[in-house]
Symmetry: C2
Subunit: 333 residues, 2 copies
C-alpha cells in the first residue's frame, strides 16, 4: 500500500475543507480534485479556500461525474450530507466510476436496519464495480460505537453497553452550534423537535451497529430529545445564548430487550459544557470502564478519521463496509 | 459466518483451560478437541479439567498432528508458550492441517522486526494453505498497542505515543506472579534480569507494532527492568512477599527517533498495586488521553480476546496477520 492514493474531496463545507487541507499535506495521499454543487464555490481556488498551498492550481468543480471520469480517483471523501436520501445519487456516481468511498453521511454508517433497500443497492453496486463504501466519522463512527466494539474484544461476555458523550458545542463549527439549537427559546426547541428538525442524526445508527455487532437482542429503540437550558448568558463566534435559553441538546437512545436496557446512548452537545468526555461502560466479564478525558474533539477528529479511512477503504474487500468488517482505521505517518 | 466453528484448544495451562471453558459454552463455537504435551494431563477429562459440562466425553490428547488430522478444526487456539522458538513447530503443524490459528504467544503478536525469518516462513506457509495466523492477547495484543491504534484513527496527526499500564499481580494466575519476581530479594531479581529470566515478553513487540503501524520513525529501542519493592508484607494464594522484598516488575521500553521519544511504554505488574489502570496518551492533533479505570483484567481478558479472535481469524485474509490488517476483534453474543 505504498502507492500514492488519488483523492477527490466531495463537499467543501467546514469539514470538507479541513479534509481537503489534510489530504493535500499528507504523505501517501494526493488531492487531485474538489467538487461541490454550491454555485458560489464553483471555480474557486482550492488552495486559497482550504489554506493549502499544496493544492495550487486546483479549482472547485461542480460536475461530479465529469470530474470522476477525468480524474480517476482511488478514493472519494464525501462530506455533503447526513441523510442517505440526500447523498445517494453521489454515492452511485462514485461507485459507477470505480472509486472507493469514505463518507461522513451519518445514515451511511450503519444503514442496514433503517435503510435496508439503499444498503442492499449500495452493496450490490459496490460489489459489481469492485470498490468499497464506508460511512465513518466520530459520532457516529467512533466515540459511541467503534471504540466500544474495540473494547469489547477483551470481554468473556458483554451483557449491556452504556455510552455517554458530552461535547462543548462552543468548540465546534457554526452549523453544528445551530444544529443543536443553541440560542433558541425552549418552546421553539420543542417545536422543532416535534417537526424532527432537531436531534443528532446518527445516534440510532450507532445503536444499531452496536446491537448487531455485539449480538445484543434489542427489540425496541426509544429516543428522547430534550433541551439543555443555559443558566448564564453565553456568547460564541456563531451564537448568543441568554440565560434561560437553550444551550444545546440532550439526545438519548436506548435499545431494550427482554433483559432490560441493552444499549444506552446518552449524548449532550451544548455550548459551555464544562468538562467534555467520552465514556464507555461495558457491563460484562470482565467489566470495562473507559474514559477519554476532554472527549474526542468533534470537527478536527471527524476530518481526521475521514482522511485516515482513505487507506482502509482501499484495503477493504469490495461492498458496503462498516467499522466491523474492515481493517482498523488508524493514523499512518 | 453463522456456521459453527470447530475449535481445538492447544495448551491447557490456566489460560488454556479458561479458553476451553469459554469455547465450550459459547454460541457459535464448538470445542472439538484439547491437546497438551504434559504427560500428567494426557487422557484427563476436559469437562472435569476445565469445569465445562459441555465438554463431556472429550479427553486431553498429546499428539497434535494426529488430533488435527482427525478433528479438522476451523481454528486452533494456542496457549503453550511466549517464545516463537517454543511454539514454531506447533504453528507449522496447525497451518499444514489447514486450520486457522489464534495464539497468545507474545512474540507472534508482531514478529516482523525481531523474528523476520520466522515471520516470513509463517506467512508463506499460511498463504500456501489458505489460513490465517494471529498473535493476540491483552499485553501484547490490546492494552499497550491495539487500543492506542484504534484511538489514533481520530487524529489528524500523531507525533508520539505514551502508554502506561499498572497491574495488580495479586489478581493474576500463579505463574504470572512468579514471572514478575514477587517474593524475590532485590539482588536475586537483578541477577535474574541480567540472565534475561525476568521481564515481560511482548513489550517490545507492542512497541514494534505501534511504530510500524503509525509510521513513527523509531531508530533505537531501549528497555529498563527494575524491581518494585514492597514496603509492607503481602501474601497471595501463590506467593509471600516480605517488606523490602520484590513485589513485582517495572518494565519500560522507549523507542526513540531524531525527534526524541516516539513510543514510550511503561508497565508495572506487582502484587498489591493499589489502583490498576491502562492509560494511552497520543501527543498529536487532536491529542487523545484515554484511561481504562481499574485496568483490563489480565487473565480473564486474555482468554476473552483469544476466544473472540476465533471468528476474526476465519474472516481474515490468509497469511500472518496482525491487529492492523484484519477485522476488529469484538465480543459476539
Amino acid at each position: 500500500m505504498s502507492a500514492l492514493l488519488r483523492i477527490v474531496q466531495l463537499g467543501l463545507g467546514p469539514i470538507g475543507r479541513e479534509s481537503a487541507r489534510l489530504v493535500a499535506r499528507r504523505a501517501g495521499l494526493r488531492l487531485v480534485g474538489a467538487v461541490d454543487n454550491d454555485p458560489a464555490l464553483e471555480g474557486r481556488d482550492v488552495a486559497e479556500l482550504t489554506g493549502s498551498p499544496e493544492a495550487a492550481g486546483l479549482k472547485v468543480e461542480s460536475d461530479l461525474e465529469e470530474a470522476l471520469s477525468r480524474l480517476k480517483p482511488d478514493v472519494v471523501l464525501q462530506t455533503t450530507g447526513s441523510r442517505l436520501s440526500s447523498v445517494m445519487d453521489q454515492i452511485e456516481s462514485v461507485i459507477a466510476a470505480k472509486a472507493n468511498l469514505a463518507s461522513t453521511s451519518e445514515e451511511l454508517f450503519y444503514p442496514y436496519r433503517r435503510h435496508p433497500k439503499e444498503a442492499k443497492r449500495i452493496n450490490a453496486m459496490a460489489l459489481q464495480h469492485g470498490v468499497s463504501v464506508l460511512g465513518t466519522g466520530v459520532n457516529p463512527g467512533f466515540a459511541m460505537d467503534t471504540l466500544a466494539l474495540c473494547l469489547s474484544g477483551v470481554c468473556r461476555e458483554v451483557r449491556s453497553v452504556t455510552i455517554r458523550r458530552v461535547v462543548d458545542a462552543a468548540t465546534r463549527r457554526g452549523p453544528l452550534q445551530k444544529k443543536v439549537g443553541a440560542g433558541l427559546e425552549p418552546d421553539e426547541f420543542r417545536r422543532r423537535v416535534a417537526r424532527r428538525e432537531l436531534g443528532h442524526v446518527g445516534l440510532v445508527e450507532s445503536l444499531d451497529l452496536l446491537a448487531a455487532a455485539l449480538g445484543l437482542p434489542v427489540e425496541n429503540v426509544e429516543e428522547t430529545i430534550e433541551p439543555v437550558i443555559s443558566e448564564v448568558a453565553l456568547q460564541t463566534e456563531y451564537v448568543s445564548v441568554a440565560a434561560g435559553q437553550v444551550a444545546g441538546i440532550h439526545h438519548t437512545a436506548v435499545g431494550r430487550g427482554a433483559g432490560g436496557n441493552l444499549v444506552s446512548l446518552d449524548l449532550k452537545m451544548y455550548v459551555g459544557a464544562p468538562a467534555p468526555f467520552d465514556e464507555v461502560v461495558l457491563v460484562g466479564d470482565p467489566p470495562v470502564s473507559n474514559r477519554v478525558e476532554g472527549g474526542i474533539a468533534g470537527d478536527a477528529a471527524t476530518a481526521g478519521i475521514l482522511v485516515n479511512a482513505a487507506w482502509a477503504v482501499c484495503e477493504a474487500e469490495p461492498g458496503l463496509r462498516t467499522a466491523i468488517d474492515m481493517p482498523l482505521i488508524r493514523w499512518r505517518g
